[in-house]
Symmetry: C2
């Protein structure tokens, strides 16, 4: 038995090893999660949506449907893309996905040849990097400053890499750093990439969870040459257990997505797609999203307050305007992975940031999640973590 050569390129996931270490200490306060808060699901509304699904469309919901997705859901997304993002599209631009991760897996399959160059923010979401790895690209990371990807570096990397195939970005409240790009930076980025034959994979799972500042247009809105493959998702605003997401892209990309998705899983479940439609038809999701925003804002603010109160002043941190994460940078020389054992022993967990780099990353960074911890846990856990850090930082 021998796997394909592709499988030689698959690496053991660093995060997975970390998660196992953390899972062995279930009693700790965990800032290591990457999940929405399950306590915010509007279960009564979901129950009503299910009841109405069973009463009105049970047989089609349990049957096969089209690979592209359930028609009324696609209609609804055409409207949502216009109203929420200012993107004018039709069903020809769309395909339903089983989570945005499927959009990453499909983009890798459809676009990446061996030796192609994939440009990512540095650090970035590991799931995108791992989806590309089997096909043998090179990864080039570009640093971000407080405004977004550093444009001069984007230009240089594009100029130096004629095989640059795709730029993977999360402009809103990035996983892992929580950073959001400014409007100016978005515009400049699109100006630069429009001069190259390169695709932009825009992953926007957190876009609707902005809890500070103004909504900014997504890159797809600024996309004049149909270079942007936009991924949206219901995972963070409804529930990740549904795995309902979508791609919005040039018609030929959407059509190829549909064709390749057919080979990967035929289609996303009709049942979960019908459920989303049933819920969105019956209820206004906006007050629910507002509640998520308010809750996460309170936790993020509290976490920042605790950082200021308990952490050594030399620890740098991002101040997210949305999403689920913030990012710590410890003084150089410290190893967040080595510190994790001490933190677990003291009663808190986090994800060392090194795992979020395609190539070698610095050892002194940490991803902190604030969505699945209570305010009480934040107060208690951040003090513990502060004490751990103080032992190593003067």
């Amino acid at each position: 038995m021998s796997f394909s050569k592709r499988m030689d390129r698959v690496k053991a996931s660093g995060i997975r090893a970390v998660q196992k270490r953390i899972a062995s200490k279930p009693e700790v306060i965990s800032f290591a999660a990457g999940l929405p808060d399950p306590n915010l699901y509007p279960l009564d509304d979901y129950k009503a949506a299910l009841d109405s699904l069973m009463a009105e469309r049970a047989r089609p919901a349990f049957s096969y449907g089209l690979t592209k997705g359930y028609g009324p859901l696609l209609d609804l997304l055409v409207r949502r893309m216009r109203e929420k993002e200012g993107v004018e599209c039709t069903k020809d631009n769309l395909c339903i996905l089983s989570g945005s991760q499927q959009g990453l897996g499909l983009a890798a399959l459809m676009f990446v040849d061996e030796g192609d160059v994939i440009i990512t923010e540095n650090p970035s979401y590991l799931g995108a990097i791992n989806a590309c790895r089997p096909y043998g690209p090179e990864f080039v990371g570009v640093d971000t400053d407080d405004d977004g990807m550093v444009i001069e570096d984007v230009e240089r990397v594009l100029r130096e890499n004629p095989r640059a195939k795709m730029i993977y970005v999360i402009p809103n409240f990035q996983n892992p750093t929580g950073k959001a790009w400014t409007l100016e930076r978005r515009k400049r980025f699109m100006e630069v990439v429009s001069q190259y034959d390169v695709m932009v994979l825009e992953d926007n799972p957190y876009g609707e969870i902005r809890f500070k500042g103004e909504h900014l247009p997504c890159l797809k809105t600024l996309d004049r040459k149909d270079q942007v493959i936009y991924l949206g998702s219901f995972s963070k605003i409804m529930a990740p257990g549904l795995r309902v997401a979508w791609v919005c892209a040039a018609p030929e990309v959407a059509a190829m997505t549909e064709r390749m998705k057919e080979t990967l899983d035929l289609q996303s479940p009709e049942f979960t797609q019908h459920f989303v439609v049933s819920y969105l038809e019956k209820f206004d999701i906006e007050p629910h999203i507002a509640k998520i925003q308010a809750t996460y804002k309170a936790r993020s603010d509290l976490m920042l307050e605790m950082i200021r109160r308990h952490f050594p002043a030399s620890v740098k941190y991002t101040e997210p305007e949305g999403g689920m994460f913030l990012w710590l940078e410890l003084p150089g020389g410290l190893d967040a992975d080595a510190l994790l054992d001490e933190a677990l022993e003291a009663g808190v967990a986090y994800i060392p940031g090194e795992s979020f780099y395609a190539n070698n990353g610095p050892k002194n960074t940490i991803r902190m999640n604030f969505t699945t911890v209570s305010e009480e846990q934040i107060v208690k856990g951040m003090e513990i973590l502060g004490n751990v850090l103080k032992r190593h930082i003067q």
Copy 2:
């Protein structure tokens, strides 16, 4: 914008073009479907299972879970594989899939290098062939007789093709022919393949829909060298709109499946997995399966009776012992695809068999589905089709 070289190998699907022609005539009696009968879904039981899910496990059902699958569902499959198939396995052998199609897509990604040889039954399920195509294998078809894959041909093809990587088979009530392999043939097949370093991809979506004869062991049961990757599914016994299926294979294959699935969609929806568990815990599925079997048997028997009554004697046909399809072979020289327009005009639809061959197939075959048509439609539609055929066959 340029797709990967892999995409050059993707062919337009013949079946899709046929389906479009058929869809333009929605009023015809269609034997072209490939679906379970939605009227057989036990909707009251499903409703009760959903209610109990919402009452007892709503929050985890809407949340993220493990890529490998929901623990209680895996436990239940360990028991089911033992009780129904006589396969002793543990969770280490299993991974939940989003439909068996995902098992095909993953096997292609994990095993197929350019120039590898994939052996299929001739004809076979197109979805498996299409899943492999992007990776550039050669396909070699092996004919089946009434007992299963012709063993001498399997031996010869394995001998002649040192790069034979995988044999894809559907030993129970194959799509498209409806044929099932005899026990003797299954044993002989496994004896032969055990002498080669080749994987067997056993697709068994129809195994539980046997309505004549005795249950026969699957190839996985006869697998002494862990060569068989077994795919099972709830699509035909519960509902395809759930997309809940599973792979049972050697631990290293199951582990790599999990790892690659993580890059493709993170995990199958927790919600649908919880639903399957909720239903199977609350209800005995066996009477429901018995009802499906009885219904399909009646329709298959009636279709066979109408073939004998209305079709020219020179039309050959399979007599399925289960599943959803039977297969017609018209006299040589007739073109089932060309005849389809005439059949649609007369009021009936079917799928020409040519599309089910990896390489060039004969033009004189037809796949007939008997699961989504009523007895009345079978009586009427088969007479119409008989009349169309009589115009061309003396």
